[in-house]
């Protein structure tokens, strides 16, 4: 768990003020939703994967879908890309039907389980996909953005898993897409590659692309997102900036090394939950200052105290618990 300065929410170091939209022709007039759905329904037999979803994804912003397995994230991605058809409701991609040629022209996608021809080189793959989109980025630029310099001549099968994911990322961004759909993009990437990718995604969003991201890494959602959609049971359970979601659950953590029994700690004012973390105890409190004062008074020997704000993780879990309750 990150510790930061007391009381301050963790910063998102990649946030920068929105840059003026790039001059590329495939940028939407800012504000109009690139993806728009109303009442979207998709079933698999008796299971309803999406039960009436309303969604707007705007350019220049990173929209993240969060949720446990079976929440409907992959289904929604499939619908947006036109790989699945909705059972009810409307879904439009920049005014076109999803999966239509016009929609595909302005979309770049990085899928969770996709493969590429192992015998072709990195350069051959990227050049080929660049050719699919009019107005694509120059080859060298795409390769640089995806961190593939030096690997141009290597065959896909000779790349590590992380490098292969970067190639797939390059294919997604090569066409300067108005809509960038990233399905678990940083799975199998090491920390450094992950951050580089975040940087690129952020830059692309600032250029004006609409980014739809799915991830189960809450750290990633926190670092990248302008907006988080929490999906559970086929519905949007929470919708807002990471800060807003975190704010829905007003609770903070008081941690320290204490020998007091958990039962006593649980009885302290404001405490809603108490856990032991090895030698440390962690108290979840809706009134952190009151809890802190009581702890200091109850245990003179308490050491290594820290007070942290809610992590998005906790907010999410909380909201999910509320939903399934």
């Amino acid at each position: 768990m990150n510790t930061t300065t007391l009381g301050a929410p963790p910063s998102r170091p990649l946030r920068s003020p929105p840059a003026p939209a790039a001059a590329a022709s495939n940028q939407a007039p800012s504000g109009a939703a690139v993806v728009q759905s109303r009442g979207l329904v998709r079933r698999y037999g008796a299971i309803t994967a999406l039960a009436g979803l309303d969604l707007d994804i705007h350019p220049g912003r990173v929209t993240t879908l969060l949720g446990p397995n079976g929440a409907g994230k992959s289904t929604l991605v499939g619908l947006v890309l036109g790989r699945l058809r909705a059972d009810a409701g409307t879904l439009q991609v920049a005014g076109h039907a999803p999966g239509s040629l016009a929609a595909r022209r302005l979309t770049g996608a990085m899928l969770q389980t996709a493969g590429l021809a192992p015998q072709l080189t990195v350069q051959e793959h990227v050049a080929l996909h660049s050719g699919y989109h009019p107005g694509a980025r120059p080859l060298a630029e795409t390769l640089a953005l995806a961190g593939l310099q030096g690997l141009e001549g290597r065959r896909y099968e000779a790349l590590s898993g992380g490098q292969q994911r970067r190639v797939q990322f390059a294919l997604a961004i090569a066409g300067r897409p108005r809509l960038l759909v990233l399905d678990e993009p940083t799975a199998a990437l090491d920390a450094e590659s992950r951050r580089a990718l975040w940087q690129t995604v952020r830059a692309l969003a600032d250029e004006g692309s609409a980014v739809l991201l799915t991830t189960h890494l809450l750290e990633e959602a926190e670092a990248l997102s302008d907006r988080v959609l929490l999906l559970a049971g086929g519905r949007v359970v929470a919708d807002g900036t990471p800060g807003e979601i975190r704010g829905r659950v007003a609770a903070r953590w008081v941690r320290g090394v204490s020998t007091l029994p958990l039962a006593q700690l649980r009885a302290l004012p404001g405490v809603v939950a108490a856990e032991a973390e090895g030698r440390r105890v962690a108290l979840r409190s809706t009134a952190a200052e009151a809890t802190l004062r009581a702890l200091l008074a109850a245990d003179a020997a308490v050491a290594d105290i820290e007070v942290t704000g809610t992590r998005l993780e906790d907010a999410v879990l909380d909201l999910l618990k509320k939903e399934t309750a």
Binding site: Q123, E124, A127, S130, G131, P138, L139
Partner: protein
Amino acid sequence: MATPGTPGRRWRGPALAAAVAAALVGFFFALPEPGEERLAPPAPGFVLRDVRVFDGERVIERATVVVREGRIAAVGPDVAVPPGLPVQDGQGGTLLPGLIDAHVHTWGDGLAETLNFGVTTVLDMFSDPGPHQALRRTRESLSPRAHADKFSAGALATAPGGHGTQFGVKVPTLTTPAEAPAWVDARLAEGSDFIKIVYEPRTAEGLGPPFPSLDRATMAALISAAQARQRPAVVHVSRHVPAEEALAAGADGLVHVHVDRVAEPALVQLARERGAFVIPALAVIAGFDPTPPPAGQLREPLRLAADPAVRPFLTPDQRRGLESAPTTKLVMFRLDTALASVRALHEGGVEILAGSDAPNPGTAHGASLHHELELLVRAGLTPVQALRAATSAPARRFGLADRGRIAPGQRADLLLVAGDPTADIRATRAIQRIWKNGAAVERHRYPEAP
């Protein structure tokens, strides 16, 4: 790799396409057309000195033969030996024209197998026209060759479901006289050198073979159509009455001797008056004859296979074929009846040609022609007459102008045998040397199968 639209590289695709197109055009123009077959030049030649020669008609006791570039240049007792050619000695043997088997069916290796016995030309009475077309283009050339030359009837003429349709080879059939000219034209277009007709009608009482046959009028129409196009027309018959009808219709010859009874004087006279020939194919009758041989003797095919002058040069398949040849319960196939018919025909002045009907059961390509010569002598021909029947006679009757004789200008298809076959016909088997198109042919020996 060029990114699309990069200036300067834009022409690489079209330039490559143009180069490929040019290469393709060049390739297709370089492929050989008919007439451009690459044929080796004829062998330079040789001289054979002091050898007895049967020149296809008569015997020259002692002669020198000069072969140059695939043809006979000179033959005679007083021929001078020209310089520059290798000279060989006749060593007391007899030089014959390469033998001609007047009735065969060739498939697979038959042409090579028959050459192994000194048979340098065959007349094929029914086989697949496809391979024949290819062979025909180079038949005229005098390039050295490892197989006999073939003149073929191609597909035979028969009724739907008639004899000839049972072998799995597609045979175009016909039923009416009106179809005959077109049928003959089609065969000639396919490459047939002559026309063969199957005629096996039932009697007026309905007796006869259990398969359909062309009727008499159609058979006659086919003969007329072939002869109008200057091609010989020969007929397959197996019984006396159809043989007479075919002769009456003007057939150039019969490719079998009838087997139902001995030839009667009326048939002999008809054949003589029409100038028709008969190819008795006694070898195949001998193969089918169920009569047990005299005590201590083998059946004819086995006797042939056991002959030490023949056996080593038969392929294992040929030996197997001869030794396991079945007989037929059809009482008609009696060698003695056939021999008596041939005797009557020959004594009645009808021309006899030697043919084996190989590779039917009881026969083998090449070897069975030697067997046929022996049987013809048994039927009453002299050895010289038998040799004529396998050399100059078939060449003359089928218009093969450059074969069948040893004379200046003739193709140098030759056979040197030990001894004197004009005295003992079996000497034809003692082959010392074979030449095809004036080039020596290596004779293959085959080991005994384990």
